[in-house]
Amino acid sequence: MEEKLIISPSPHILTKTATTHIMLDVIIALMPAVIAAVVIFGFRAFVIIADTVCVSVLAEYISRKVMKRENTVTDLSAVVTGILLALNLPVGINPLYAAFGAIAAIVAVKQMFGGIGNNFVNPALTARIILLSSFPSEMTTWAAPFWYKTGSVDAVTCATPLALHNSGETASLRDLFFGTTGGCMGETCALAIIIGFVYLVVRRVITPVIPLTYIGTVALMSLLFGQDILFEVLSGGLLLGAVFMATDYTTSPITRKGRVVFAAGCGVLTFLIRQFGSLPEGVSFSILIMNILVPLIERATLPHPFGERESRKNA
């Protein structure tokens, strides 16, 4: 045998699923929400999404280059961040502000902490909160569904169902389900998000634990406080947050029990902010707060290795 042989540690076969494939699956799962956004909020929605995606990818490329690190654009995680950020913005936002959000997400939140897998909070959510505090009025001016049929994006506005709710009015469940209400581009259409959720679960990208626990907790709290359960679940950013943000691998616990605790915490905080806070919506802040608690949750929910209990029993 003349040729040299490859020596490597076992195992010698590896799964075909690489990080890129997982991110691609998430992008596919986001497509129904993207399409719904474009249908409901017009071509402008597409422009904002394209804007944040391009800026995110560019920001990732440049920051890796500047930091002299291996380039990670091909893992597609920046694309996911870009789409998620756009879906969390109102359609009327100035594209420059959106671009600023994308840069904040990728550079400040993700790459400054070491890039994919090392950020401790969700980049898209944090960027949304940065934008919310930087441009409060822009970020809370909601274009009405199908505004493009009647006038300009600034002229045809409406309130979000949750804001309406606080002032005593209520949106129909049908509008909430199909997304024909005011709100962030990707959060209004429950149907599209549910399709994405099913896809992610079927492809085993996520387990349903976090979304179901999160939504279930909000439903339970609504029941306890005498609120309309379906309305609380379908309105606002809850579904989008529960399916796509709270399930972010990097910023959610890797232990099974930890995931339940994390999601339940998100649910409680979301409901409390909605019910008692001055903000109409609390999904972003709840997930962000729970993101920060992840290391503590993990430490408290270490799994018992096989046979550990039995060995203690005998001792």
Binding site: I6, P11, H12, I13, I254, E298, P303, P305, F306, S311
Partner: protein, 452 residues
């Protein structure tokens, strides 16, 4: 008072984690063929877990098949026998694939495969005779680990074993030797089971076998129903779901009996002995013929091998000879693996001999031996979800990087059996098995390299 008879399981108990692999059992229908006598064999003095043997032959001595060439005074060892007849050419130092350096006896074959006059069936009158016979046979766990069998079946005082688990799970892809053992050597397997049950006073035997071996399952079931009634009632075939690592000792104990082996303990502590099916078959044939462990069935497969085969080879045969018998390499071989693709060791040369515990030689071409780019951990938790022992490889990796001994202990790194399920599932292709191993080294030797 008579103790209640243990019932036989109808279906397996739940086990945790694991991975669904492509089986690639290409050779499962290939009847084993004998390798023609090799020109020389290399017999390392360590083909087991335990104390190394000392060569008891000198260069120039004539040996026959079955003569002892390496022995040890230690109980925790297994003798090495000449696998061909011929002349001892010399004794060299060699490094084994796992890095261990030991003596090796090289025998030049005379091509006659003459059986030694010392080979005669052992006389077994008592359980102690039986243990002595197994010890003299040189048998080690043939499933791959190479644990000396006489140590394993020596039940310490005060412990009772009620269940023999015959491991025919063969969860590693490609390998089909246990499957062939069940099909080709059925009588010896059944006789071996009955013998071991009688000698060790074991109540029941569960043959654990994955559902991807329907023929072996059928044949074993038929053979059991052919036993006399008292025995047939105590032996069963338990079909397991084909899921890696179903054949890992602690996993198969859980699947077959529902018992959990405590951390750091052995199956015997829960009243079980797990033996590979080929080991069981060998025990019976040794008691009948007295021929020690001098040959081994191995699966030769992989994308670079011309004619995949199941071959019965004398132990110590250079891998090259076995590959040539299988038509040589049809493509450039880039990775040569001793064992299965999940836990096997990548070899640096095909001059290495076949060892007792080898069950496969796999030669992979360029397509099957890619060098994966390792990327950052994305904390997806697939390693945690798939670990059959409930460990947290991702967290252990962090503890290894920080060299945090307390954390490593708490995370139970020493319990890792390095099955590779976590690394297989990792989308970032992180070398988790290597990292686990490193974690153990940090705990035992402070992470320093060990001199041999």
């Amino acid at each position: 008072m008579e103790k209640p008879v243990l019932s036989l399981p109808k279906k397996p108990f739940r086990t945790r984690g694991g991975a669904k692999l492509r089986h690639n059992k290409n050779t499962s229908d290939f009847h084993s063929v004998m390798l023609p006598c090799p020109q020389k064999v290399i017999l390392p003095m360590v083909q087991h877990i335990g104390m190394p043997c000392r060569p008891v032959v000198k260069a120039g001595m004539k040996v026959c098949v079955g003569n002892i060439v390496g022995a040890s005074e230690s109980l925790f060892s297994a003798p090495v026998h000449a696998s061909v007849s011929g002349i001892v050419k010399g004794i060299t130092r060699m490094q084994l694939p796992n890095g261990y350096v030991c003596d090796a006896v090289i025998i030049e074959s005379d091509g006659e495969m003459k059986l030694s006059a010392a080979v005669k069936p052992p006389v077994i009158d008592s359980p102690q005779d039986f243990l002595d016979a197994v010890s003299a046979s040189g048998l080690v766990g043939l499933g791959g680990a190479g644990f000396p069998t006489h140590v394993k079946i020596n039940v310490p005082d005060g412990k009772r074993v009620d269940t023999l688990i015959v491991n025919c799970a063969e969860c590693e892809p490609y390998i089909t030797t246990d499957n062939r053992e069940a099909i080709e050597n059925t009588d010896n397997v059944i006789n071996g089971i009955i013998l071991i049950m009688r000698m060790l006073k074991i109540d029941r035997t569960i043959i654990g076998i994955e559902d991807n071996k329907p023929e072996a399952i059928r044949i074993l079931k038929k053979a059991i129903s052919g036993c006399n009634e008292a025995e047939a009632k105590r032996i069963c075939v338990l079909t397991l779901k084909a899921r890696y690592p179903q054949g890992a000792e602690k996993v198969i104990v859980k699947a077959a009996t529902g018992r959990v082996v405590p951390m750091g303990k052995l199956p015997i502590d829960t009243g079980c002995i797990v033996m590979n099916i080929t080991s069981v078959g060998f025990v019976s044939s040794y008691v009948k013929t007295g021929i020690p462990l001098v040959s081994k069935r191995i699966t030769v497969d992989g994308s670079a091998v011309s004619e995949p085969k199941n071959v019965i080879v004398p132990i110590g045969t250079p891998i090259k000879d076995v590959i040539n018998f299988c038509g040589g390499y049809k493509e450039q071989c880039l990775k040569l693996i001793s064992g299965g693709p999940m836990m096997g060791i990548a070899l640096e040369s095909d001059e290495f001999p076949i060892l007792k515990q080898n069950n496969a030689i796999l030669a992979f071409n360029e397509k099957d031996a890619p060098l994966h780019r390792t990327t950052d951990c994305i904390r997806c938790g697939r390693c945690v979800d798939s670990c059959p022992f409930g460990l947290m490889p991702a967290a252990i990796e962090r503890a290894v990087r920080l060299r945090n001994k307390d954390m490593l202990k708490k995370l139970g790194v020493t319990d890792c059996m390095e099955c590779g399920t976590c690394a297989y599932n990792c989308p970032a292709h992180r070398p988790l098995v290597q990292i686990m191993n490193q974690g153990k080294q940090i705990l035992t030797h402070n992470g320093k390299k060990q001199g041999v």
